[in-house]
């Protein structure tokens, strides 16, 4: 039991915090989200220089071998700075997938561009009408010669707009479980519909029409990707939890500042107990969420998949609830200005809300936790 960070962890957190304070102000972010791409390669490269892309990649695969706690520290800052560059979608999730699904030599080969930040991967998994279920992959792959033909549609792919390579979950006809394929985004038959999301991040729906890939496109063993998918989505949830804590804490701070400055009836509105107690309840959500983000981060490295799943679903439940509570009340305490697009308040609110519905909302994770209770009964 130890809450201390190592010197390296403190240094990592500090350098990212400095980057945000210096190069990623709310004004900088405005300029970035208004561009056609909606994210900045220049800032992406700066993040790579800090070492963020290599961080979650295993040392054996040419990365820094970071832990769940390392990712938590990064994601907290990503949340505080409302960073729109697709770090979660194009680094954290692919790194976890490649680590868990890939076979020996394949891992290093796929990781090289990932760790340098030069190749963007995205996980094309969610299918229309699928919601959050993880292993019901209807997307079809058919064996053809030495390779495969892919047909189907994937939606809400985080970073799917920018990715160079797509990690696609698919079920080969006759197989009991899903497989994972790596497909160049520019392959013939791949059609992307890119869009901005509610929180100014970018994503895409992607259609695959008779996309032919070779045998080497298969990542890991055929039909055996379920555990890796489960792991990668758990890692994603833990990262989202940490991002939420960074965003929540900042939004709470902004709201308390507003209560201290906004005047009505001749005095600052923070003198009103109804608002004070709401601000306290927000703080409680922030602190309880912070504790559970730690729980989730530590759980990422737990080799016991059932224990990992239970801890991470506990965290995602509580934090999704916290995202709603803190977000909604920050807007309420700001009053009219809180519902404008101009102020950062609504941007934090929207990001927190989208976090809550990404990779499982509070109800879905509460149900998954309850399933664990039932299994133990």
């Amino acid at each position: 039991m130890d809450f201390n960070l190592s010197d390296e962890q403190n240094a990592l957190k500090d350098s990212l915090a400095k980057f945000i304070d210096r190069d990623y102000t709310f004004d900088d972010r405005w300029k970035i989200i208004k561009t056609a791409e909606g994210w900045s390669r220049k800032h992406w490269n700066q993040l790579a220089e800090i070492g963020l892309m290599a961080l979650p990649v295993a040392e054996a695969d040419g990365g820094l071998g970071g832990t769940g706690v390392d990712t938590m520290l990064v994601m907290e800052e990503v949340g505080r700075g409302l960073i729109v560059e697709p770090y979660l979608g194009c680094v954290v999730v692919p790194a976890a997938l490649i680590k868990a699904a890939g076979s020996g030599s394949q891992r290093a080969a796929l990781s090289e561009g990932l760790a340098s930040g030069e190749t963007l991967y995205a996980f094309a998994h969610t299918e229309p009408g699928q919601r959050y279920e993880r292993n019901a992959v209807a997307f079809a792959a058919a064996a053809k010669g030495d390779g495969y033909v892919l047909n189907g549609k994937k939606v809400s792919v985080l970073g799917g707009d920018a990715a160079d390579q797509l990690l696609v979950s698919a079920t080969v006809s006759g197989d009991a479980g899903p497989s994972l394929f790596v497909v160049p985004a520019g392959a013939s038959g791949v059609k992307r519909f890119a869009y901005p999301m509610q929180d100014a991040q970018r994503g895409a729906d992607i259609e695959f029409a008779n996309v032919e890939v070779g045998a080497d496109a298969l990542v890991g063993e055929r039909g055996k990707a379920a555990a890796a998918i489960d792991y990668a989505l758990d890692v994603a949830c833990a990262a989202l939890c940490a991002e939420a804590v960074g965003a929540m804490a900042e939004l709470h701070k902004i709201t308390v500042e507003y209560l201290k400055t906004r005047k009505q009836f001749g005095r600052v509105i923070g003198m009103n107990q109804a608002l004070q107690h709401r601000a306290v309840d927000m703080l409680m959500h922030v602190e309880m969420s912070r504790s559970m983000a730690m729980e989730a981060a530590v759980a990422c490295d737990n080799p016991n998949a059932a224990a990992r799943a239970k801890a991470i679903s506990a965290a995602k439940t509580l934090i999704s609830q916290g995202c709603h509570f803190v977000g909604q009340n920050a807007v309420q305490l700001h009053g009219g200005i809180g519902v404008t697009h101009e102020l950062n308040t609504s941007h934090y609110f929207k990001r927190l809300t989208m976090i809550s519905v990404t990779f499982g909302d509070a109800d879905w994770h509460l149900g998954r936790y309850g399933d664990a209770l039932l299994a133990a009964a």
């Binding site: 039991m1 130890d2 306290v280 309840d281 309880m288 729980e295 509580l318 039932l374």
Partner: protein, 398 residues
């Protein structure tokens, strides 16, 4: 950062569990686990066993005869002993007045009182609240007037928990009506056997005698029983309340109740199926477990931070709010699990055959009684609304 117990901590956990199993009276453990009322001797038996082992001063520094355990060890001790059915260590002496005596008392007070608190020879109770001074504690009126080497104390204290068992009471008394009301309060240690003290029971809504009124009629208290300076008692009072709030979260006890609730949910039937299969109930159980885990980690974070700063900060208020809410939810869920078995009023002390023949499950016997009793948790120790005021001022700076 690591939230798992190290091998040393796991060994400590095992040591505490083995000691508890070997030294805790099984009859007391049964009463605790089923939620029966405990007698004075039930508490003291466990207290003495711990004292013999040198483990009773859980949060105390070694120089005063404490364990010198760090925050994680204290948490493990709390968790394991609660899990095994050990009675709660009565906090008034060990966790509340002792830190004040250590920090602000003189050597004579320390030498006299601390060993007797450790040994269990003196049972303490708390003289803070008054009929007219609940949340507004600083408005207290119980008066202490100086007469030579004595204070003459007149007035009334209330909500005095287990005062019927107490040998000593620590009291906030008014020694001055000049200036701000906080600046006229002193902190007195009073022997309950002093002439002029009357203890009267208050029967609570569960029809139990847990709290009392304590009346003072010209009670002579030596000036040497004052802790620290005259009229500076409010500072010591707040210091004490901080200590009260960290312990008040009751994480160990909550974990025990969750375990019992899990068992109940497996055994009780709803529409012919185990209650745990009812998704509405299971969701509620899952939610409270998750909230409790968040509270536990938050408590450990606060304790770890405290270990560096010493005195508990205003963050303790957060633990009090969340802990009391979770305790109430757990008693509510247990009552709901009981279903119609929650209806009978079962008098305490009737072990064996309950009043209602079909009420066979021990876990349900006191379910609704506890639910009623636990409404106190969001009120005592500074109501949760007062805690929000404290956080507003001390943390948010509003």
């Amino acid at each position: 950062m690591d939230l798992n117990y190290s091998p040393e901590q796991q060994a400590f956990e095992k040591e505490v569990r083995e000691f508890t199993r070997a030294n805790l009276d099984p009859n007391v453990a049964r009463k605790v686990l089923e939620g029966s009322r405990l007698e004075r001797e039930d508490y003291l038996g466990w207290h003495r066993a711990l004292h013999k082992k040198g483990w009773v001063g859980v949060g105390w520094p070694k120089q005063f005869g404490g364990t010198g355990w760090n925050s994680t060890q204290q948490h493990i001790f709390d968790e394991v002993t609660a899990d095994e059915g050990a009675p709660q260590l009565i906090p008034f002496g060990l966790r509340m007045v002792s830190p004040v005596i250590m920090a602000f008392g003189n050597k004579e007070q320390q030498d006299y009182h601390l060993p007797k608190i450790l040994s269990g020879e003196n049972w303490w109770c708390q003289g803070y609240s008054e009929p007219g001074s609940g949340s507004d504690l600083a408005s207290l009126k119980c008066k202490a007037e100086r007469e030579g080497d004595f204070y003459i104390v007149n007035g009334q204290k209330t909500w005095t928990t287990l005062g019927q068992y107490a040998d000593w009471i620590f009291c906030l008394v008014r020694t001055s009506s000049e200036g701000r009301q906080q600046e006229g309060i002193s902190f007195l240690l009073i022997d309950m056997k002093t002439p002029g003290i009357t203890v009267r029971p208050i029967i609570m809504l569960d029809q139990e005698h847990e709290v009392n009124e304590v009346w003072f009629d010209n009670v002579k208290v030596p000036v040497s029983n004052r802790v620290g300076e005259e009229n500076k008692g409010w500072t010591y009072a707040k210091f004490l309340l901080g200590h009260e709030r960290t312990g008040i979260a009751g994480v160990g006890r909550c974990k025990r109740i969750v375990k019992r609730l899990q068992n109940v949910a497996k055994q009780a039937k709803s529409n012919g199926r185990p209650l745990i299969e009812d998704v509405r109930f299971r969701d509620k159980l899952a939610q409270v477990e998750i909230d409790l885990r968040a509270l536990e980690i938050t408590l450990l974070r606060v304790l770890a931070a405290e270990a560096e700063k010493r005195a508990p900060g205003p963050e303790a208020s957060l633990l009090k709010i969340k802990g009391s809410e979770i305790q109430q939810t757990l008693t509510e869920l247990t009552m709901m699990a009981a279903g119609p078995a929650a209806l009978p009023y079962v008098r305490e002390g009737e072990h064996g055959a309950p009043d209602v023949p079909w009420l066979s499950d021990e876990a349900f016997r006191f379910a609704s009684g506890h639910y009623f009793n636990f409404r106190k948790t969001t009120i005592y120790g500074g109501s949760n609304e007062i805690q929000r005021n404290i956080i507003t001022q001390m943390v948010l700076g509003l």
